[in-house]
Amino acid sequence: MKDISIEPNEVPEEEHRTELPWLAPVSRRTMMRYAGAAVASSGIMGLLEACGGSRKGTSTATITTTKRLLTAGISGSVASFDPAFAYADHPSLYTLLATNAPYVKYGVKPTTLPGGLKAQMVNTTKILPNVATYKWLAPDKLRLTFAPGMKFANGDPLDNRAAYGAFERQIGIKAAADSLFKIAGLTSIDQVSVAPDNSLDIHVSKSSTILLDFLAITAGPTSPAEMKQHATAKDKWAADYYKANLAAAVGPYKLASYTPGQSIVLEAYEGWKGDKPGFARVAQRLIQDSSQTLLLLKRGQIDVTDYPPVSQLKALQSDKNVQVLSWPSADPNYLYLNARFKPFENRLVRQAIAYATPYDDIIQAAYLGFAAPLKSILPPAFAGYVESWTYKTDIEKAKSLLAQAGFTGGEGVRPFTITYRQSRESDQKIALLMQQNLKSLGMKVEVAARPDASFLDQLYGFKLEAGIFDFPSFFWDAYYHFYWNLKSDSIVNFTNYRNDEVDKLIDNYYVTTETGARLEGARRIQELFNRDAPAIPLGLPNYNLVVRKGIKNSTYWNDANMRYQYFAK
């Protein structure tokens, strides 16, 4: 660690003041003396300002991180540390991704970003061993094997029996992992069994390798012994305890300290058998205001931050001390048109809106160029992607479709509101651009910003008539994305879309080994999405990461979350 040398201010040893000079009458001479002192002070201030740069090395404001410490600026607060439920807030997610490694992991591959910057990105076609090695014993039987002598961060042994206990919780608690496992044909703990050589066998009811992907994108084992200590009769899975406490798990890091609202500090876990992390410690500053993040970044007090405000990216690009890394992402942004509300039950109206959407303006004005057009419901990174969205901005065509729908000049269309999240500056611009174009069709459109919590509540409750929302599938699979967005019984089918053919194709090909038919089905679903236009693909905003110069191995992951263990200096 770097030594910090601070010289305290001089403190007077004794009190010299014996009278209160400000009470005495002030003579002209005294006034002149004070004025002279004021002028001299101003001069000194100016001089110090000029010397500001030369003081940088000694100021506490510019203590830079050491090679052993990576400092990240993260927005948000911890809503839950429970790996079963932590899905929305970055502080808990990033902490879990560093401390609770999955059984297997995706590989990474090098990539070159615009501007010639070298970086990495996830390789979802390559699945590597992580906490366990794996082997397909049969098309429906996966074996995980654990290295001997592994321990959770609290010292509890991590073997096949402990892993069985961890699966018991993951399946039993009925949360994110359980939802995914069900899709893969793992619905009961009875399908998991302890096997010889410190192994665990998993029998799935459908022949497919999809389970392996799900194991790569969900948290790995946590200590069942610890869970039992905190379980109660009412709370079998110790869910209450894990809301505020990080589970004993295994990963490149372990928790060093957590100060709510301030910081989460991690340190390398000596018991981790996988690749050693690039930094001995990671300090996550929990930051409420993005302006703070940028100030700290410019002064070298944080090394890395993600999701910087797009409006700041150009300015950051001109800062020689930082690098702005901008990957084409897999985070599609849509305008969801909820068919529960008029006029969105009318396909022609939706098509008219699709033609009225200012696609190019959205990329240039809302995303300031840090985005790509979205030409399907799927991002291009997904296997099965077909450039299928045929709509281009054409106001006349939109007017004509509206007239065909019986709303000539927009007459008779029920007024509606486009709602977006207050925290998304780009979405606000998109909403305004959409409003402008739709008004030119004669529609009466309001735009409304909502705090994130309120927006999500309305969205998940299917109460939004038109909402701007991104849906980044962390499993880069066409059918995974279709399932959540288009399946009529999906819990996040925000458009209330229902197409029996789409439902059937998803049911048939979500979990299958028939690769050719799967791809053909994906093509057909995209074609139907284009025809029905239940949602408007607005764009594919880049994944942006800002790092101090010298930080290497920045990686874009399938879930667009940072994994600190990969960074190096």
Partner: protein, 346 residues
């Protein structure tokens, strides 16, 4: 002396009695207002993967399946037990969150108030002593300008100049030194440093509080300077001061012995108002400077519809506000027993 004690005691009892309706009113108002807001308070903790049964269990756990009056009953019963509920944004008991963050807020408030009292007091007295003079003119301009500067702008300006450009003082959030040592303590940084006899840490904490303290203090200064000036000017204009001067008392004696006590009641009341404002109203300063106090906590809670945290914050601030005025009234009664404190504007 007995009259003073008796009055101070009477006032204290009156205030304590008044505390009950004030707190009840704050509880009812906050409860009703939070329920009138958009959105489900459980949105933050409710995973889309939860089954209907799990969501129902969650609603039941937090009594959101009960009628609003019943919810209020549960809440009041919890408050009486000292249980303010569980925060949805931190997954911790609100009482623990507030207890952890309050010292940091108090530390910031103390620094801010000290700055406001020193700067505002000096300006107020100096201008009252020489009304219409050059200093008075300059001070008036300063007060006018300072009144017009929004606190967020002042905060950003201070950060831009003293942190980003000059690098003299630390930036927002927990200090880098603390991070290197394993993260912030979560307690009041200066007090923590002093208690642990850790001088580098104390010094670092002092540096950390200067900018937010200045932002808060300078925001409070114009109001305080005006009150001090008006109080002193009124007293200095009065007959008993003219009489004291005519008796040949020194200016210092006139001011300290006679003018100051007479001018004190409205100043003390203003001070109480300032402390109340600073405790409840320093939210913006805490957010911009990443100060880990209750203001920043309340901000997060409001954005996330975190009802228990919002209610806990309002309750705490109400209690502190009432307590501050209790102390102020007692002090006024002690200093100027002839003043009818009940009539003092607040």
């Amino acid at each position: 002396m007995d009259a003073r004690r008796s009055l101070a005691l009477r006032l204290t009892i009156r205030r304590v009695v008044l505390l009950v309706p004030v707190v009840v009113a704050a509880l009812v108002l906050t409860f009703v207002l939070t329920r009138l807001t958009h959105g489900d308070p459980l949105a933050r903790v409710r995973s889309p993967f939860m089954s209907g049964e799990q969501v129902r269990a969650l609603r039941h756990e937090f009594h959101f399946d009960a009628s609003v009056p019943a919810q209020f009953g549960y809440y009041v019963a919890g408050v009486v037990r000292g249980d303010l509920g569980l925060s949805f944004t931190t997954a911790r008991p609100v009482r623990e969150d507030l207890a952890q963050r309050l010292p940091a807020t108090l530390e910031l408030v103390v620094v801010g108030i000290v700055i406001a009292v020193i700067v505002g007091g000096a300006i107020g007295i100096a201008t009252a002593l020489r009304p219409g003079g050059a200093l008075d003119g300059v001070s008036r301009v300063f007060v006018l300008v300072a009144t017009g500067i929004p606190v967020f702008w002042l905060s950003l300006l201070l950060l831009f100049v003293f942190y980003l450009k000059l690098g003299w003082l630390p930036g927002p959030g927990v200090s880098t030194g603390d991070l290197e040592n394993g993260g912030g303590s979560g307690g009041p940084p200066i007090l923590d440093g002093l208690l642990s006899l850790d001088w580098p840490r104390t010094w670092s904490a002092i540096q950390q509080v200067i900018l937010p303290g200045l932002a808060l203090g300078l925001t409070c200064t114009p109001f305080f300077a005006r009150v001090v000036r008006e109080s002193f000017a009124a007293v200095l204009d009065s007959e008993f001061i003219a009489c004291a001067r005519s008796m040949g008392l020194s200016p210092r004696t006139v001011i300290v012995r006679h003018a100051a006590p007479a001018a004190a009641p409205p100043i003390l009341t203003a001070l109480g108002t300032l402390v109340g404002f600073a405790i409840g109203g320093n939210l913006i300063v805490e957010i911009i400077f990443g100060w880990p106090g209750i203001g920043a906590y309340a901000y997060d809670a409001i954005l996330a519809n975190d009802f228990p945290a919002i209610e806990g914050f309002v309750l705490l601030v109400t209690l502190m506000y009432v307590f501050v005025f209790l102390v102020v009234d007692a002090a006024v009664a002690w200093i100027a027993p002839t003043t009818d404190v009940a009539e003092t504007p607040q």
